[in-house]
Structures are given as C-alpha cells and as structure tokens.
C-alpha cells in the first residue's frame, strides 16, 4: 500500500509538468491551429531562466586571497557576489538561495516575449500551410533553440538547487498512519505540484471569468464569426501564444531543482506531452490536464521494481500502450471535441 501511495505522489509532480506543457500546447493548437513542436524547447528555456537568474544573482567580483593558492600555486582569486556587498553576506546568501522562486518574476516577461517573437517572427507565416510544414518548422526551431542554449551553457546538466528551506523530504507516511520514513516526499516536489495546480487554475479562471478569455474561447469555437463581429482575434491569439509560452516556461523554471537543466530536456518532454494532448483530446484543455496527471502516475507505477522485473521495458512503453488503448476505444481522446483535426 505504501508503495502505491509513493508512486501516486511521484506521478503527481511528473504529471504536473506534463499537464502544464500539454496545457500550453492545447492552448496554441486551440487558438492558432498550430502544432507547435517547439513547445518542449520553451519548457527548456524556462528552466534556463532559473539558471540565468541564479547566475545573475551570483554575479561576483574577484578578490585576491593571499593566504590561499589556486591549482597553479598562484594566490587564490575568490569570487565575492555583489549581493554580499549590497545587502550583507547573510541577506545576500538568502537572495542567491532563493534564485529559483525569484526566477518566476524574470521568466514571465521573458517567456511571453519569446512566445510573441516566435509567433510574429516565424509561426504566423505558417498558419495557412499544412500541419506537416508547421511541425517541420517548429521542430527545426526547437533544434536551433537547444543548440543556442548548448553553445552558451554547455552540454552537461547544470545543478540549480531549490531554496534551503525546501530541501529534504516530508514524512508523508506518518500523516497516514504508516511507520516513520515509509513514505517520503521531497518538499520541492510538493511545492511543484501546488504551483502547477495554481497555474492551471489561473489559466482556467482567466479563460472562464475574464472578457478577454471569453473572446478567446469564442474565437476557439468559431474564429470566423468572432472576426465578423469586428474583434481582432489574431491579436488576442498572439497574446495567448505568449501566455502558453509563459506556462511552459514557468513549468520549466520550477522543474529546474527536480531535474538539473540541460539543453535536451525539452525534447525529453515534447513527445510525451504530445501523447498527453492526443490522449486528453485535441483542443481540450481539461483533457490535457487530466491526461497529464493520469499518464504521469501510470509512468511512475510502471517504473516500480517489481513491475519492471515482471515486464521488462514496461516503464518505457506504458504511456504509448495506454495511448493506443484509449485511442482505439475513444478515437477523439478522453475529452476530445468533435471536428478537431478531423477534416
């Protein structure tokens, strides 16, 4: 029983990432009709926003320490962060420690801007082209983005730790009456799950309860009629692209302490996120979220040692297996709408 709870918890945070990426993918597909294979790269860029902010906050000047030597025997050059000079060592250390949460403030405008540039600069030229062309150009863009990141940050993962206050694990099992240390769950993963839930709720509330959201939903349902009513739906859809990019970026920022950012992480998530979108139902926002969590949890279960022992390799194919079963039984996915991608 305890192992089942552990795997459900594990699936929740992985599912949160899938859900956030799939939510953005669905928003873009639902509004602009574009299959965006660069969405995983936006997740990766988000995680590198955390790396960049961490480096900005750790920006240092060099002080020569005559009492110590470097690897060549020269006097040691010690890097002293500017924030130590400005706020004192203790406060400066705390600011650096909280780099990842602070990155959220940095990532939102950056990612909206990146999304805006992507849409206006490249993707809008492909609206009337076949989906295959859109896939090719966005996939190419994803490769360019990851190569740019690799050029500046190298190929190895870059450790970006969570604040000290969130290191360690919550003894979840004790709350449920199990022995101590039976069900441990890292604090940061809990934060990630709550953060994802908040973002998902915020996106839904934005679409549901604001005039802007209402117009966007109307445009998703019938773009032509909304245009006839004199509303410039294209501008709103461009902004939605920016918001979708920001959602993927925020998912990446907060994921940085869970998996050390590397240039390839977007590709790792991209294919799975598309499976999530298809399983959830093309164009369905609730479907994308539900499928994200469902497949995240299933993937966790499939990675349990006794499961891998009985069915070797099941952990690598489970998502695709479930996708096949769901698409055979419900061809439009869990919550797919009639008419989407069916012409």
């Amino acid at each position: 029983m305890d192992q089942i709870i552990v795997q459900i918890l594990n699936g929740l945070d992985k599912g949160s990432a899938y859900a956030l990426i799939a939510l953005g993918l669905t928003l873009i597909f639902g509004t602009l009709g574009v299959v965006n294979f660069a969405h995983g790269a936006l997740f990766m860029l988000g995680s590198f926003c955390a790396v960049i902010m961490s480096r900005i906050l750790s920006a240092s000047h060099t002080v020569i320490d005559e009492t110590r030597t470097d690897f060549l025997g020269n006097p040691l050059k010690v890097d002293v962060p500017y924030v130590y000079d400005w706020f004192g060592e203790a406060a400066g250390q705390t600011i650096i420690d909280w780099a990842v949460p602070i990155s959220i403030l940095f990532a939102i405008p950056v990612m909206i801007g990146v999304g805006f540039i992507m849409e206006r600069g490249l993707i809008k030229h492909f609206y009337k082209r076949p989906h295959a062309d859109q896939i090719l150009v966005t996939f190419g863009l994803a490769i360019v983005l990851q190569e740019v990141i690799k050029y500046f940050f190298g190929a190895n993962p870059i450790q970006t730790p969570a604040p000290e206050a969130f290191t360690g694990s919550l003894d979840f099992g004790v709350w449920l009456g199990f022995d101590p240390l039976t069900i441990m769950y890292p604090y940061w993963r809990l934060v990630y799950f709550l953060f994802a839930a908040l973002i998902i709720a915020a996106v839904f509330a934005f679409l549901q309860f604001t005039t802007f959201g209402m117009v966007v939903r109307a445009g998703m349902a019938d773009r032509e009629t909304v245009g006839i009513l004199g509303i410039d739906i294209d501008k709103r859809f461009t902004l939605m692209f920016g918001i979708a990019a920001a959602v993927a970026g925020l998912a990446g920022v907060m994921y940085a302490p869970i998996v050390a950012p590397n240039y390839h992480m977007g590709m790792d998530f991209l294919v799975l996120s598309f499976v999530v979108v298809v399983v959830g139902g093309m164009g369905s926002l609730p479907g994308a979220v539900a499928a994200g969590f469902l497949l995240g949890i299933l993937e966790s279960f499939a990675s349990m040692p006794w499961m891998v022992d009985k069915l070797p390799g099941i952990n690598q194919i489970i998502i695709y297996l479930v996708a096949i079963i769901i698409l055979l039984t419900r061809p439009r996915g869990l919550m797919g709408r009639k008419g989407v991608m069916e012409d």
């Binding site: 192992q3 594990n10 992985k14 450790q159 360690g168 869970i258 050390a260 992480m265 690598q316």
Partner: protein
Amino acid sequence: MSKSNFTRRGVLKTGALAGAGLTLPTYLRAQDSGFTNAPTGDSVTLGFNVPQTGPYADEGADELRAYELAVEHLNGGGDGGMLNTFSSKVLDGTGIMGKRVDYVTGDTQTKSDAARASARSMIEKDGAVMITGGSSSGVAVAVQALCQEAGVIFMAGLTHSNDTTGKDRKANGFRHFFNSYMSGAALAPVLANAYGTDRKAYHLTADYNWGYTTEEAVRSSTEAMGWETVNAVKTPLTQTDFSSYIAPVLNSGADVLVLNHYGGNMVNSLTNAVQFGLRDAMANGKNFEIVVPLYSRLMARGAGANVKGIYGSTNWHWSLQDEGSQAFVRSFGEKYGFPPSQAAHTCYVQTLLYADAVTRAGSFAPCAVAEALEGYEFDGLGNGPTLYRAEDHQCFKDVLVVRGKENPQSEFDLLEIVEVTPVEQVTYAPDHPQMGGAAATLGTCNNGA
C-alpha cells in the same frame, strides 16, 4: 628457351636473411609501407574522434583541448608538459620520427554509428594513421572494431567498461583508462572500512554496456567483502527524473544505494536521491549511504553540493602531486585557465604513448606500434609506474578512490583523494570471467592495406 637466375648460393643467402628477419621483433623489421595510411610527406595525421555534440560534449571538449596540447608538445611548442617527466626519452619535440604532427577531428555524438562514420571518414579521406578518443564505452568498442578492420591503431579515450579490453578486446586497440573491475576492486575495501562489512546494497544501473559491467564489478567486489545485494534495477539511459526508481529504495531493506550512472544520469539520480532524503535517512540502524563507482570532476560540478561525502573512483585527478601530473596541470592550466579532467589526462597520455611507441618501433606500421606498446612499462605520466599488458592491451596502474569534498576551496576543488589503491590490488588475470573468460582474445594485428 628460358634461363633461371636462381643459384644454390643465392637461395641460401636469401633464406638466411629472411629467417633472421622473421626472428626479430616486428617493430625492428617493420617497413614504412604496406600499411594503411603510411605517412609519405613531412607530416603525419592523427584522428581525434571525440563527442563534440550530445550528452558528453563537455568531456569531449576537454579531450580535444588535451589532444591539441599533446600535438603542441610533440611538435616542440609550449613547455613540453609531460614530455619532460615521461620515463621514455625518445620524443624530442620534433614531431613523430621527424614528421610534424597534424590532426583532424570528428564528432562521435556519443553514438556508435556516428562515431564509426567519423572514424571511417578520418581514415579514408584524411589519411589518419591512428584514431583516438571517445567518451563512452559503446562508442569505444564500435570504433575499436572499425580500426581493427581498417588496419589502424585505436588509442581509446575515456571508456570504463570491462568489455573494451575484455570480451571485445582487439589487437589494434589500446586502453590507458581504468575499468569497471578496477573500480570495484579499489572501492570495496574502502567502503568496507568506512561503512562496515554488514551492509545491504541497492543498485541502480544505466541500461547499457558500461552499466552492466560496472554493476557486476561492484557487486562481486562488495559481496566478497560481506555486503549483500538486495536489488539491482536497470534504468533507461534517457531517464532524467529518477524519482520512481529512488522512492522504493528506502523501504527495500537496503542501507546503501549504488548509482551505476555516468554523466547526466548520475547528476540527476544523485540529486533525486538527496531530495528524497536518503543522505539523512537511517536504515537497518545505520546511516544510509550512497556510492558512485565512477566519478568525474565535470560530473561532480554538475551535481553540486550533492556529491559531498560520497565515495567513488577515478582514473586521475589534477590534485595529484607527482611530477608528471603537476607538469600536465601546469601546461593545461596556463593554456586554458582551469585544471584538466581525467578525460583530458587519459587522451593526452594516449597521444604521447602512441608517439613514443612509433618512435621506439621506428615505424608507423600498426603491428610494429602494437608490439612496441605490448608489455611496455613506463612512468612519469601521472599514474605512477604503469604496464601496458600484452595479453589484453589494458594499462595497469594505481587507482584513485575519491570522495566529494565537504569544504571545497574553489569551483575545481570538488573531490578529495581518499586512497591510492596499489596496482596489485586491481590486477586480474587476462581470462577473468568479467573480462570475457578464456574465449576473449585479441585476434591478429592488422596492418591494413
């Protein structure tokens, strides 16, 4: 009517000369012809096949720096580096046998097929007489086999799997880097000393060639010390989040987690293990411990503070105080501004060893070079007295057991040397079961064309 030029005296003379020639070692009778890419001008081309893209690109970049430094030193540039400390004195800074050393580079992408394609291109189009490099055992085994077929020497870079000089050993292939068996043999006594002999280990193993041999080596060494292995789980090489694999560890009855992971896998699995509280946990009344059999400084930098106090092994470390290591660190550090990695060290050394073997053999012919390297004993290259064993073309030398440093003094100061395990402790028979048993052979040396 025909006239024969054969005379009884002539045949006897020729026979005597041929017999004398055949009794000499190959490298004393080698000719600079009749082998693949025999250098003809005033230069010789070496092929550096390293991962310039892909997950091990940082290791590859450091390897390339080391190769460039080695070429500079061989051609008489810079401060000479380890040429000054090498026990052999035949290299004099005039290239190799008076020929200037040129090089071409290829990108393995850490993929066997890409690595073979780039090696083939360097051999067939660029005329490389020797191929060296690689940062993955899968790549090394594949390129080594190609070099064997093509008739050129392969001087392996960073490859740690037993198979490279075990079941997949080749007559044209040579490895300076240590291997999984040596890691296990060096680590086990240190672990027993630090954590006791009554321990239960749980292995997470990268699901490919290197992972298997490392798990096998560490398991057999630690079990011989009294440890029990409670479980060993294979993890996909592409895995980034190891939480599903880490979470069951604490309730498995294990009190040690062995991460048979390298590169990005290791950074992420170790990070996940620390996040799940394994470093602070108690199991079976003991502190829970984590072990990483193969460490690299580049990897340790990626894992950050998570490596503190964690044991592992390494082929070489820049903090070694011997004359050779210091000379190399000084050359490399002054040229590039940071200390070299173990990948850089082994690649630099392999280039020097190749150049030295050619010079001693008096020939670039692969079989002559191989014969010069087989059974060759040398010193002054950073690992103490070292033997290139003839039976499997594996270098035998001391192995370093290291630990993540608790209080690093700089961004490079991440590992501390806990023990220098003597070579006797990590030496094994050429037909050891982990090395392919009696069936494993080098085959016949191939000179190619």
